[in-house]
Symmetry: C2
Subunit: 463 residues, 2 copies
């Protein structure tokens, strides 16, 4: 594209690659999903928070290292000559579009930790930005639901955030068939790595290897594990035994059998108490223990989990991050949470037929579509429409000059209004009247104008 021109010659512009324009239907879908996220979070006792769209770049390098700089969008002020000179000299920009919410959350908690009531249960529905090549399930701008439970070390917190995620999926119409919460635990993996020969200094590298094991060829895995003293067969055997026992415990709770002591002796305390809490929350049938889940990010401690739908990328992922708040200058506070993006979830809902108009337009249907049947009635239309809107009704009308009632009733249906209100000769009666047609039932009747609000309220409650 050419540089700017004040002459305003017609030019077609496009949205930046990997971003989205939300026209009314797409926006209604987005608000529908966000609405379920918000309502579910609030019902589970989480308070909404939000931070800036861009942060100091250092906030991200502090958490993830300098490698993150090439993965994010950098931001600078066009006003600040000094900033500009530094960037031209080779420095990174001072700000970055947020690629995730956790650093903002950690910063916000750290800076007011003393005055915030505990536990801190927060959710956010922010936009995020990643400078990567767009592909199915991955865009450069997306919306992500973040739910975080800070200041509670018991597995009750882990179970509550998982339950919050599951309840939202249920409300969106999804069922446990084909969707699994895969639960793992980094402490269990850590233990098994040590018992299979890995020394403390190699634990982080071993975790990284496990996270990538599916993507590497067998020889490479062999070479790397030998280098860190990891007996991978011994590791796999130990972890498989624990996994089987944990899944037996899940099966027991699913069938309303008590957890046996035999299970308890084999499984680590954290895992068994999480399973027990998931049982109490009524969602154990969504869950499966799978110790192949490691989650790449270095800051996870203890529980980690992913929600996996068949044939899709992970719908959500999260876990414990007990050391993170402290690393951002806050007090030592246990914490856990998850993120769920709108792109993979949207694809999943769409493929399952759960994004039809009856779902996302429910709250957007007009109460009335007002029609003027003659020119005299047309003079009264603006005042009647304004009065109804002032009483908080959703009211639409045609801006065409036609008085063809049949055609206008067609427009009313297209607007998905609950009722058509027809202004005609009845307006001249004493008291003035109108005709209302219930567009669901087809029933049509004459009413005094003054009874219209009451009638609209009755139809509202019928839905």
């Amino acid at each position: 594209m050419a540089s700017g021109s004040q002459k305003s010659q017609p030019v077609k512009f496009q949205a930046p690659k990997g971003t989205r324009d939300f026209y009314p239907d797409q926006m209604a879908v987005r608000r529908y999903i966000e609405g379920v996220w918000r309502k579910t979070s609030i019902n589970h006792g989480f308070d909404e928070v939000e931070g800036p769209m861009f942060e100091h770049l250092d906030l991200y390098t502090h958490k993830s290292g300098p490698g993150i700089v090439s993965e994010i969008f950098q931001v600078f002020s066009g006003k600040d000559e000094e900033e500009l000179a530094k960037i031209r000299g080779g420095a990174a920009a001072p700000y970055a579009l947020r690629p995730e919410f956790t650093p903002t959350l950690a910063r916000m908690v750290a800076s007011k930790a003393a005055e915030l009531p505990r536990p801190i249960k927060w959710f956010a529905i922010p936009q995020h930005f990643r400078a990567e090549r767009p592909q199915r399930g991955r865009l450069r701008e997306f919306v992500q639901w973040n739910v975080d439970f800070i200041g509670e070390e018991s597995q009750r917190a882990d179970a509550e955030v998982i339950a919050t995620a599951i309840r939202a999926l249920e409300r969106l119409g999804l069922e446990s068939k084909g969707i699994t919460v895969k639960i793992s635990n980094r402490d269990v993996i850590d233990d098994a790595l040590r018992s299979a020969g890995v020394q403390t200094e190699n634990i982080a590298a071993a975790m990284e290897l496990l996270d990538k094991v599916e993507k590497l060829d067998r020889a490479e895995v062999q070479r790397r594990s030998q280098n860190m003293g990891l007996d991978i067969t011994r590791f796999k055997d130990a972890i498989a035994l624990k996994q089987t026992s944990a899944n037996e415990a899940i099966a027991a709770l699913e069938q309303a059998r008590p957890l046996s002591v035999a299970n308890g002796s084999l499984i680590d305390n954290q895992v068994i108490s999480l399973i027990s809490e998931l049982g109490a929350s009524g969602i154990v049938h969504w869950c499966e223990v799978d110790f192949s889940i490691v989650r790449g990010l270095a800051y996870y401690t203890g529980t980690v989990f992913e929600i996996i739908a068949e044939g899709e990328r992970a719908v959500a992922g999260g876990g414990r991050y007990d050391k993170l708040i402290e690393s951002f200058g806050g007090p030592s506070l246990p914490a856990c949470g998850f993120g769920m993006g709108d792109v993979v979830l949207g694809n999943l809902l769409h493929d399952k037929g759960l994004l039809s108009e009856e779902h996302y337009l429910q709250d957007l249907r007009p109460d009335a579509f007002v029609i003027a049947a003659d020119d005299e009635a047309a003079k009264h239309l603006p005042r009647i429409v304004a009065d109804l809107r002032k009483q908080n009704f959703h009211v639409r009308h045609s801006y065409k000059t036609t008085r063809n009632v049949g055609k206008l009733l067609g427009d009313a249906s297209k607007s998905r209004a609950r009722n058509a209100v027809i202004l005609g000769k009845e307006l001249a009666e004493n008291p003035p009247g109108i005709v209302i047609k219930n567009l669901q039932s087809g029933e049509q009747k004459e009413l005094p104008l003054s009874s219209l609000p009451e009638e609209l309220r009755i139809v509202q409650q019928q839905r």
Copy 2:
């Protein structure tokens, strides 16, 4: 700040200057205001849309000229070496954080103009970013409500967008006293400038002069107006007469007198028909014609307006922009709209005492705060809480291990719950019972556990 460190040494970070952290109370206020904006827009027949947070920089220079580059935040991908090389070589970044919504709107309308049903009535509640020095009423990141009515050339459209703004202010508790919609018209000013001696080629410069006239000293105004042949006294006299007549027309409608022909002959058609439509919409008492309002932006045509609250910057501003869609490559489409930011409005509501908890927490009160009075009851608490949440109730509980009911009732009140639900020895009865305390009335009673959802629903409806 030092560059990133993977060692995670504790560091205190701050939000970038001029941006905001929204902790739960601030976020509740923001969502309350946005909720009123959204509901009012929908009731007035507008559909919500959204675009990307950043756009191609050219989109803004196309509309506003190259000068805008120094007023905005520039964005580039850290991944793209070629982009980086260009910026280091002195070029502007390829993207910009959006400083306003209108260019995105114009781009979206232009690119789908053929398939969009007319009229196009859209609203959006996007964040915007300006690289300027923060001060009262102006931040570097803010939320702005945008309402746009495209494809309707009659003054009905102008009146509807103004009515939408006014109804939102009313719902937020504001009254017409001390708040005025100052209405002006660029065609009227254009005519008056021409009749006062300004030639076509100087009209734009004359508009700019009028927009800044309050900020310039008298000698400077004199010098500039002479240069463009503007007889400023003659201009002011002509415009004052029109303004008086228009405000007489407003007074007539306010007192339910008809508009006299005498008014009509003096005032331009656009202005008188807008006043008439404002009368039909029942908001004429909020309005005043003030031809000193010019609105700086070059793209306005016809009606322009500002909503002014005593002692504050403009709460909202807007007008017609009949040529803009075309200049972005779309068809010729008349259009009008306004923007209302959250910062000035928030200050105004706060100063008038309209942002107390009873306003913004209304939809965030828990239905129940559940208390375990003994250890046996505590075992049942997670399941009972999970069941209620599954039935869409907002339920909270204490994570402390205390069984001190008095203390826990205090926590329940602090959470602003409608009811406290006390689990105790009644759970062992047949059928299991609970004690519920209505925290508004203080009334306390025993109920079967199975009747709890019904009771919570009854109390919900009492608010």
